[in-house]
Amino acid sequence: MYELKTLLPQFEIKLPTCMYDLKNVSLTGSPSTGAGISSSSSLIKKIQSLPQQQNASGKSYSSSSATCALDLDILGRQIQQLLKANNGKDTSAVVARQDKVLLQLEDLKAQLGKIRAGLGLCGKTIQHTTGYQNGGLKEVPLEDIVINGHPNFIPYALLALKNAWRDLYTIDIKTFTHSTMADIGPAAREFEQNLAKVPINESLPKINVTLIWKNCEHTEMISSPTMYVPIYGEVNIIRYLGRVGPAEYRYEGSPVCNEIDLVLDICYQLLRCTTHKSQVAMVRLLEKRLQKQQYFGGSQMSVADIGVYSSLIRMPAITDKDLTPALVAWRKRAKLVTKI
C-alpha cells in the first residue's frame, strides 16, 4: 500500500472534550476475541510494512518508481502468503467471536426479560389494538363515544354491527335512560336485552359506546366533550364505526367506496320518509343498487348492508311483499350475520 498525499492541507481533528470513547460492547472481556483483533491488526501492519521492504530490497526500481510503490503482483503474492500463514487461526477466531456475540445476545435477551418481569408486564406479546387495526393510522386511544337516541328511532345498526363483528371487534355498549324520557317502551327494552346478550370478548380490540335514550330529535353521536362536534343520523354513525372498526369493514380504500356511500345515503332518505309510498320508492332505489349481487357493493358483507338491514327493521310497514325476490334473499343472507 502507498501513502496518498492529501489534497487538503493537513490539519488535526480536534475532538471536543465532551465526547468520550465507547468500549466496543461485542469485543470486551474476552481474550480470544482480543487475540482475533490483534491478529488482524498485525496483518494490516505487515501489509503496511511491505512497500518499505520492497523499496529496500528491490534494485530494479528507480527513484521515480518509489512514488508508485504498488507492484500488484508482488503485493498479491505477499498477501496470499500472509493469509495462508494466518488462515486457520483467523477463521477460527471469527467463529469464536460469532459464538461470543451470540452468547452476549442471549444474555441481553434474558436481561430484558427480567426487566419486563420486574415491570409486571405479561409475558405475551402486547396486543395491538386500534393502531394496528387502523391500517397504519397513528395509534391514539379511541375516545369513548356517546350515542343519544330516541326510543322511537332505535339504532338497530349498533346491534347489527355488534353481531356482525362478533369475532373481529368488540363494541361494548352500556345503555342509560335520560331524565327526559319517562318510559322507553317495550321495543327499546327488548333492544337493550339483545345488546346485553352478545358476549364481550376482552381480547379483541374494543370501543366503548354509551347509548342514552333521550327525548331528542336526531340520533346523535358525541365523542369528545371539548371538541363538541356531534354526528347526526344513524348512517353517519355507521360510517364512523366503519372507519374505526375492523379492517374487513373499512370501506374507504375499497373500489366500491362510492357505491357504499350511495346506499347509505339512500338509507338516510328512507328513514326520513313518512308515507308508505315514499318508502317503497326508496326501496326500489335500493333494489336497483343490489341487482344480482350477493351483497350491496359486491360479494362481501359491508357497512352498507348493515345500514339497509337496520333501516328496514325500523320500517314495519315494508313487508316482504314490497321487496323483490332478490332483496328477500339478501335479507335472509344478511340476517345470518346481523342476527336481528
Binding site: F176, H178, S179, T226
Partner: protein, 534 residues
Amino acid sequence: MVEEKENVSANGEQVSKKGAKKAAKAAKKAEQKAESAAAASAGNDGEAGDNAVDHAQGRYGLSEMIQSKDKRSERVFVTVPELVNHVDKGLVWVRGRVHTSRAKGKQCFLILRQQSSTIQCILAVNDIISKQMVKFTGNIPKESIIDIQAKPVSVPNKIESCTEQTVELCVEQVFVISQAKPQLPLQIEDASRPENPDDAEGLNIRVNQDTRLDNRVLDLRTPANQAIFRLEAGVCRLFRDILTEKGFTEIHTPKIISAASEGGANVFTVSYFKDSAYLAQSPQLYKQMAIAADFDKVFTVGAVFRAEDSNTHRHLTEFVGLDLEMAFKYHYHEVLHTIGNTFTAIFKGLRDQYSREIEAVGQQYKVEPFKFLEPPLILQFAEGVAMLRGAGVETGDEEDLSTPNEKLLGRLVKAKYDTDFYILDKFPLAIRPFYTMPDPNNPIYSNSYDMFMRGEEILSGAQRIHDPEYLIERAKHHGIDTTKIAAYIESFRYGCPPHAGGGIGMERVVMLYLGLDNIRKTSMFPRDPKRLTP
C-alpha cells in the same frame, strides 16, 4: 319612662314641657286608634265623616281573638285551589292572607293568598255591601289573615296576576282573624319577584339575603320558598321510603359525643356537666356500629354539626345529614349501585311528584331542570382525570380534585353525557381517610367513591376497613394515635361484615337539584359562622 326621668333630673322645665307635649300627642294618637278600632269592630252608626246608615253592619269587622269558644262547624271552608269546583254553587268560606288590597271608590279588589295559591276577590257597593265595608276592606293591612264568605264565579278574561286564573270570589262577609303590622320589613311581592338579570326594564327591587333571613317568617311566604321547603320534605320522604323499601332500618344516633368522630377536625365543644363534650360531625361511627350489631342496612336522618369557619355559598355549621351504611357480600359495588339507584329514584320521584314545586321555584329562579341518567353514570377516577387532561388541565394521578377542576369535570360530563348526576369511583388512596379500604388490584387507588350533582360533590363514601388489625395498620400509616380511636377499632373485634356507605347533606342536595346559588335558600333557619338567629 327611664329616659324621661333622666331628662327631668338633668335640666328642669324645658324638657318636661317637651315630655308633656309628647305625652299629649301619644295620648291623642291612642285615643284616635281606640276610636277607629271601636268603630271598625262594632261597625257603629256614627262613623267618622260618614253619617250614612251602614246596612252591611255585622258582615265585616275585626273578629275577636279566637280562643276556641265556638266550633262554628256550620262554616264550610274550601281551599283556594279547590274553588274551581265550586263555581256557581253558592257561598263558601275561605281563610287566607291579604296579598294585596286596593279600594277604589265603590269597589275593592283584594287578592287572597293561601300558601302559594292566589285568587282575586271583589267587593262592590250594592244592597249587601256598604260603602263602609268597602273602605274597611281596602284598609286591611297586607299579610293579615282573614275569613271571607264569598261566591265563586267564573271570569271571562284570565286573571294574569293570580294562580287561579279562571275564578274570582264575590265577597259577602269579611272578618279579620289576625292583623299584621301595617309596616312590613319586606314586601312579599319584592321577595318573590323573578330574578331576571337580562331584563333591564323590569322593576329591579330586590330583597337581599340578610333581610330575608332576618325576617324569615315573611320571606318563607313567597311561592318559591313554599315550594323549596315542600320539595325538601319530599327529598327526606323519598329517601326514607325508598330505603325502607330496600330493607333498610332507620336508626337515630347521638349528637352529643365524647370524641371527634371523623378525623377530629372542626368540632363544636359543649359543656357537659363537669366535663366537655362535642357535637357530632357525622353519624358514621354509629352507623358502622349498627352494622357490627347486625342491622345489615341502616340509614339515619339527623342534624350534623361542623365548626368550619367558611363563609361560602355551600357551607353551613348545622345541616341535616342523610346517611346510610350497608353490609355487602363480596364487592362494595353492591353498595355503590344501591346508593346510586336510591339517588335516581329520588330524582325520579321529585320529577314526577313535585313538578308543581319545581315549576314554582323555576318561576323565580331561572334554572335548567335537573338531568340524570338511569342507571346512574359511573366513571373511574382515572377516566375523570383523563377527561380533564383532554381539556388541557394538568392534574396528578393521586391529586384530589380541586373545586375548579371538580366544576370543570362536571361541565365536561354534562357536555358528553348530558347528565347532572354522576359517580366517580376508585379515588386515590392517598387522599382518603385512614379507614378507607385500599384497592386490591392497584395500591394507588381505594374502594371509595364520590357523587356529584351539577359539578359539586354531594356524597363521599367508601368501603370501610372492617378488620381491626388492618385498621390499626392503616391508622399507623396515617400517623394517627390509635389510643384515641380505640373505641372505634374495638367495635370490629367481635366480627363485623364487610360494609360501605356514605352520607349527603339534605340542604345541599336540594340546592343543587333546583340549581339555586346559595345553600341558605334551602335551609329554613340557616346556621353559619355569622348567623345564629332567628
